[in-house]
């Protein structure tokens, strides 16, 4: 008699605690640290966007003077590494910091905006969704403070 009551009690206890356990189980969904990197199609996808962007900048009459001494392949390589790292990908950017790289260039706000436009057009061409584009722009935009030296 006592054993039946004991096992009944234990069963009830397990049954009653099951819903409570289920309620504490699901973890809140957290964005993966490389979510943006994945959204761009990883390094290959980023490389295509950067390739497109650098070509546009060097052909844009408004800003091509800034690139007169640039070796396109080097810039594309460097930027791909930088954006890969910035978006959470497995890369290590080994280039110069933005301030040093642009210190002598005399970049003004207009030129910076033209650059952003070129990048937007490149992302459009590579069919990067608008919301994904803005997430990358939000990471790059603060660099304006180091890049623009003519105010």
């Amino acid at each position: 008699m006592k054993n039946h009551f004991l096992s009944l009690g234990l069963t009830c206890a397990v049954l009653m605690s099951a819903p409570a356990m289920a309620q504490t189980m699901p973890a809140p969904a957290m964005p993966a640290p490389d979510a943006l990197y994945q959204s761009f199609g990883q390094k290959a996808g980023i490389a295509k966007v950067i390739d497109n962007a650098v070509d546009r900048w060097m052909a844009d009459p408004r800003i091509k003077p800034f690139f007169k001494d640039t070796v396109p392949q080097r810039l594309k390589f460097s930027l791909t590494e930088q954006v890969c790292q910035l978006t959470g990908g497995p890369c290590a950017y080994t280039g110069q910091d933005m301030k040093t790289a642009h210190a002598a260039m005399g970049v003004n706000k207009a030129a910076f905006n033209n650059l952003v436009e070129g990048l937007q057009l490149a992302m459009d061409a590579e069919k990067i969704p608008f919301t994904v584009q803005n997430r990358l722009l939000a990471l790059l935009a603060p660099m304006n403070r180091d890049i623009i030296t003519v105010r």
């Binding site: 706000k109 207009a110 905006n113 033209n114 608008f130 997430r135 935009a141 603060p142």
Partner: protein
């Protein structure tokens, strides 16, 4: 020279100057659209952004034409603005309200009102950016902040007599401070404006009030939110709190003033053109002369050319 001809000539000159030197470089839609008072912002509320396509080191121009139509009124507007180095904005605007329902006030307090009357108002705007960048400093909470004024002069036509009876003046100046930020990662723009004003119905019913106990000048907050659907399209909503200085002139709520609100969509097919369409709710406007004191709702359409 008649005032309208002068205004039109000024606009023509400014536009052709703009066309001649269109080397301006703001990012798309970051100059806002034109408010009904001629300043840059949403449709109803000035933002901290400096208008035109000119960015730092540049001078730009813009011009707009707009029309709002509600059940009993229609409001046409047009104006020009100059943007200097993304720091200073000067604007000139004209509003023309078809106020024909006010003919019902003919004879009130011995005043004669003509049928089909129009109330016209000119607004001279000045705005200065004092801090921040609305778009690029996406790693900080800091908004772009600007201070501005709108000096307004109203011509009420034959309603001048009624204006005198109400004790309202024909001109007044609004002062405001705006804070605007585009949360770039989310494509969401928010704006808050605080306006010091003594204008009734934005100035269309004069300025100030002779009503005892009514504080002529008050602080009114205004809010806008806009969401970028794409590079060229934004949808949004605005809410403008309004003073209520003329209630209870005449009888009860005859001249009551309500808050203004709208929901809008703005489309920029090119860098130089934008079109804004909105549903507006302007609340009661001289409800004494409108059927069932109904609130004024309807459409708003505006096109802007910017260089």
């Amino acid at each position: 020279m008649k005032k309208t001809t002068l205004l039109a000539s000024a606009m023509g000159l400014i536009l052709s100057t703009g066309l001649a030197q269109a080397d301006t470089n703001k990012l798309l839609l970051t100059g806002g659209v034109s408010t009904i008072a001629g300043s840059a912002g949403g449709g109803l509320t000035p933002w901290a952004v400096i208008g035109t396509n000119a960015t730092e080191g540049e001078i730009g121009v813009s011009a707009y034409a707009s029309r709002a139509k509600t059940q009993d009124y229609s409001l046409n507007g047009y104006g020009v603005a100059i943007g200097i180095h993304d720091r200073v904005e000067v604007s000139l605007a004209r509003q023309d309200l078809n106020a024909s329902p006010t003919f019902a006030l003919n004879g009130f307090a011995g005043q004669a009102v003509s049928p089909g009357e129009h109330i016209k108002m000119d607004v001279l705007g000045l705005k200065v950016k004092v801090a921040g960048d609305a778009v690029l400093n996406s790693d900080s909470w800091m908004p772009q902040i600007a201070v501005g004024l709108e000096h307004k002069r109203v011509d009420p036509g034959s309603l001048q007599g009624i204006f005198t009876v109400l004790g309202v003046k024909d001109s007044g100046t609004d002062f405001y401070v705006s804070a605007t930020k585009l949360f770039l990662g989310n494509g969401l723009l928010v704006n808050a404006t605080l306006r010091s004003t003594n204008a009734n119905q934005n100035g269309l019913l004069g300025f100030g009030s002779a009503m005892p106990g009514k504080n002529s000048r008050s602080l009114q907050p205004e809010f806008s939110v806009a969401y970028l659907l794409s590079k060229n399209v934004a949808i949004g909503a605005e809410y403008r709190f309004k003073p209520n200085n003329l209630q209870p002139h005449l009888s009860g709520s005859a001249l009551a003033e309500d808050d203004w609100k709208d929901i809008f969509i703005a489309w920029a097919p090119t860098k130089n053109v934008s079109i804004t369409a909105a549903y507006v709710d302007l609340g009661r406007i001289v409800s004494a002369v409108t059927p069932n004191q109904r609130k004024q709702t309807g459409y708003y359409l505006s096109t802007q050319l910017a260089f």
